[in-house]
């Protein structure tokens, strides 16, 4: 048995003999054990140091050094890639975060402006739910979103506000030299640059009006009160004509008003110049309702029926001349 095993270990067996032996070993435990013993003792002897191994060692060592070099290069490339990946991640995230933050802060500066031309009116709802009606030739400047501690808008012309209630964020309307602060309320602002006064009427809630011209003076209105500002002076009175606010539905009402005042309003609403050759007709008072969409010609014609005067229109200069 040993003979055959030895021959096998030395590689001296014929192919068929080798195969037979291997098959035999599969079944024969004792044969297996004998082989294992022999194999391991033999292998043990291979571990003896001999002189020629030094050359082999040197060869191996060179190969080893090459491997180490290659490994180091790989490591450098991999860590470079990792750094690149991290850098990219940092850059990308910085970009997105900055954009998000920046977008939010520019939301405060991002103001929209709505201009309503002559003969028209508009209604819009602001980001917080506040409703605004704008009369003819009026401009509203407002932010897309109300960020910050206050809700601020700027108005030129005439606007009616139904402010959504927010106790934490007061609503401020700026117009010419006035600033009006409310919490939740309904009020009307009449503030045309060409007019002789600024008027604010409070219908509901409470309103604080202050003027840049007299900063120490702050007037607080109660419902159904109005303030008229002429220059430095502020007059508080009662609302005379509550139908007046129907303008937001497109109905102009005048209650016992002088033609002078009516004409001034019509000029503003319709962007037309009205020249009165005979000033006596100014003081006649009128009461009536007109639809905005009737147009100025129709309105003047109806007024004409009460007190006769002649109307002359010049389309080129956009002037209407009234004569007795």
């Amino acid at each position: 048995m040993d003979e055959i095993l030895l021959k096998y270990l030395l590689g001296e067996l014929e192919e068929t003999e080798q195969r037979d032996l291997l098959c035999q070993m599969a079944d024969d435990q004792a044969l297996c054990a004998a082989y294992i013993r022999m194999q391991n003792i033999y292998a043990l002897t291979l571990l003896t140091p001999i002189h020629s191994q030094k050359d082999e060692g040197v060869k191996g060592f060179n190969a080893f050094a090459n491997r180490l070099q290659a490994k180091r290069k790989k490591k450098i490339i991999r860590s470079m890639l990792q750094y690149a990946a991290i850098s990219l991640l940092l850059i990308a995230s910085t970009f997105f975060v900055t954009r998000a933050l920046f977008t939010q802060s520019t939301g405060v500066q991002e103001l929209n402006t709505l201009y309503v031309p002559a003969g028209q009116r508009a209604q819009l709802t602001l980001h917080d739910g506040t409703q605004v009606w704008l009369n003819a030739q009026s401009t509203l400047t407002y932010p897309a979103r109300f960020t910050g501690k206050r809700r601020e808008v700027t108005v030129e012309g005439e606007a009616y506000f139904d402010v959504a209630e927010n106790r934490k964020k007061p609503f401020v309307v700026n117009t010419q030299q006035l600033a009006m602060e409310v919490l939740g309320t309904e009020f009307n602002v009449y503030s045309y640059p060409g007019a002789n006064c600024i008027k604010t009427d409070l219908l509901e809630g409470s309103l604080a009006v202050s003027s840049k011209l007299s900063p120490n003076v702050k007037i607080t209105l109660k419902p159904n009160e109005q303030v008229i500002v002429k220059g430095e002076n502020m007059f508080v009175g009662e609302i005379q004509n509550s139908d007046y606010f129907l303008w937001k539905e497109g109905i102009y009402t005048f209650e016992n008003e002088r033609l002078l005042d009516i004409l001034e309003k019509l000029q503003l609403y319709y962007d037309v110049t009205i020249i009165v050759k005979d000033p006596e007709i100014f003081n006649v008072r009128y009461t009536g309702k007109f639809r905005q969409r009737d147009g100025i010609d129709e309105i003047l014609r109806i007024i004409q029926k009460i007190q006769k005067f002649d109307i002359e229109k010049n389309s080129e200069t956009n002037t209407i001349t009234l004569t007795k």
């Binding site: 291997l22 435990q29 002897t45 291979l46 571990l47 020629s52 191996g60 090459n66």
Partner: protein, 187 residues
């Protein structure tokens, strides 16, 4: 070729002392010298990366041997599985490798905690008759082919073969006492 490190000199010495022996041992079980080379290089790479081992190990030989043995075992196990799925179970090389695997599994590295084991093995080789020993060394330790040995020593191949047989028998006898140490009793 230089590798920069504080322990380069020490490492190189260890490398040169052990490389060839480990490679030979591995090649015996793997049946392929290239595979053996790769495995031993991996072993030394690991040693290099864990430099504290250089410092702390009193029995560096045992460490290197165990590392080599374990990698060979993994290799053989993987190879026998792979071959089983690719070819016939009774494939000859597969059977050979299986036997090698079994032998290696049974090889107990604890034998190297025996302080004198290396000198014992060496002595066993030295007790071989001169011609026998020369042939044994040339064949198995220097890796020379039997034909080349015959030509070099001016002998017939048959003589070389028989001398090899004698060498093996004598070595087995000499190391018999250590067999229990050498082999796990798996049965």
């Amino acid at each position: 070729m230089k590798i920069s490190s504080q322990h380069t000199g020490q490492f190189e010495e260890i490398y040169l002392t052990h490389y060839a022996r480990m490679k030979r041992f591995a090649a015996e079980y793997l049946l392929c010298e290239e595979d053996a080379e790769n495995i031993v290089q991996d072993v030394f790479m690991e040693l290099w990366e864990q430099q504290f081992v250089l410092m702390s190990h009193t029995n560096l030989f045992a460490y290197l041997f165990t590392a080599t043995k374990n990698r060979c075992l993994d290799f053989l196990r993987h190879k026998t599985i792979v071959r089983r799925t690719a070819e016939m179970l009774m494939d000859e090389q597969n059977l050979q490798l299986k036997m090698k695997l079994q032998s290696l599994e049974a090889f107990d590295e604890k034998i190297f905690s025996e302080p004198n084991i290396e000198s014992i093995v060496q002595k066993a080789i030295e007790t071989l008759p001169e011609k026998c020993r020369t042939i044994f060394v040339m064949s198995k330790l220097e890796g020379k082919k039997q034909k080349a040995i015959a030509a070099e020593l001016n002998l017939s191949i048959h003589t070389v073969e028989s001398q090899m047989a004698i060498a093996h028998r004598k070595l087995k006898e000499a190391l018999q006492d250590y067999i229990p140490l050498l082999i796990f009793l798996l049965i």
